[in-house]
Symmetry: C2
DNA sequence: GAGCTATATAACTAACTAGATAATTATTCA
DNA sequence: TGAATAATTATCTAGTTAGTTATATAGCTC
């Protein structure tokens, strides 16, 4: 696991005796990345308002001034974190190559991908939750993010059309709403697992429960797309 | 619409000329309710950390001291808001009488209820999002909330069994996961509508879009529960 | 190796914020 | 009616927080 601090060794060349190439004491990129990593943790666990710039700097083993030097303000750092996490998700999605699969297999693969991505990147769920509370004002402002639009819904539309032509997928499905439902079934399970676990006194985050949930999500979506 | 301030008229008996019964200048319950209403808005739009006690007091047209007088602390006020909103939802759910309906009708009614409740009480969505970010620590602490457990999932279980006996509902459905999925399909649509609208450049919160989404949610769940 | 500049540090500050103090006034009830 | 109590107000305070200032130095260029 890459922690924020692990990116920022306290002393130059502290690793591998003395003949190893010395890590420079000053390294703009390393500091930037350490700040981003620490900020992602801080913002995703406490939200924009609850996050503390001093904590971020401390966790990144950087001076607080560096945060302002590289990112300008707390809010701009938050936006940088959001852009990076959201961009990474879109980037990963763009390499799925769903059109290479049989339509039904593609649908299944997409549901499973959504579930697995949520499981492996729970920070983005929290970041999105916070951003939605603020009416997505930062996302709206972001050029970088408004440029990386559509993609997966378009692919899904193509997949649905292909499946429909083959008689394997029912007609009249709205690709966007199907995409939202696929996301919803996984996202909600992870985003609300704390309150759900309390309300239903069932430890929903165990490995066994997750496996169950993953299969359930696939089941729900496959039932929906299959013609009757 | 009941705003926080409307509960708290500036002057006694300001309404309906002079022969109307004078509203008392001091009214503990009115002040308490005004604070709760203002706090619900503040906490649901800004989260626990982002909310400001001064803003809550101002919006409630109450002195800040009253907030501490009645609720003790910012965090206890937050818990009171959470308990009230969550309790109201559970209370409403408990009056659904789903077992009086035919199994399939009951399922449909529950999906529609979930959707309509989300639409009409979007504050609770934001409150839950914030509470989940904090690991549900307040919900866990709350006696009142831990006492109002289970209910709807039990009812759903009964409905599923009845439907299964009639051959109208497929066997082997996990009532809890079905309940989570019902919630997820509606909740996610409302909780993430800001970011979804930005990402997909489609104004998802219009009345027409909501109608579409509601039908889609019903469709997805009914497809799932129906035997093949 | 002198000088330059990007990177880094420590210490400071002005504004904000949750909560406390203490005095005041409306209402109740004997 | 008048003392007791409940509700309310204005003002203060100690601690926190985002952002700044002033200064230092590592590492590069020539």
């Amino acid at each position: 696991m890459v922690t924020a601090a692990s990116l920022k060794p306290k002393k130059a060349g502290a690793s591998a005796k003395s003949e190893a190439p010395l890590e420079p004491i000053r390294d703009a990129e390393r500091t930037r990345q350490a700040l981003l990593a620490a900020a992602e943790i801080e913002f995703s666990t406490k939200g924009l308002a609850g996050a503390r710039v001093d904590v971020i700097a401390e966790q990144a083993v950087a001076n607080k001034r560096m945060l302002y030097y590289y990112f300008g303000s707390k809010e701009d750092l938050y936006l940088a974190v959001l852009e990076r996490a959201y961009g990474a998700m879109r980037e990963t999605e763009s390499h799925l190559n769903l059109t290479d699969l049989e339509p039904l297999q593609a649908i299944k693969a997409l549901v499973e991908f959504k579930f697995d991505y949520c499981e492996q990147h729970q920070q983005i769920i929290a970041l999105l939750a916070g951003e939605n509370m603020l009416g997505a004002k930062h996302l709206k402002r972001s050029k970088r993010l408004r440029d990386m639009n559509q993609s997966l819904v378009d692919v899904l539309h193509t997949v649905l059309a292909a499946g429909e032509a083959k008689g394997e997928i029912r007609s009249g499905i709205d690709a966007l709403h199907l995409y939202i439902s696929m996301s919803a079934l996984s996202y909600f399970y992870f985003s609300n697992s704390s309150t759900l676990s309390v309300a239903f006194e069932r430890q929903l985050s165990s490995a066994a429960e997750r496996k169950l949930r993953r299969a359930h999500c696939v089941d729900v979506i496959m039932s929906y797309v299959t013609p009757r």
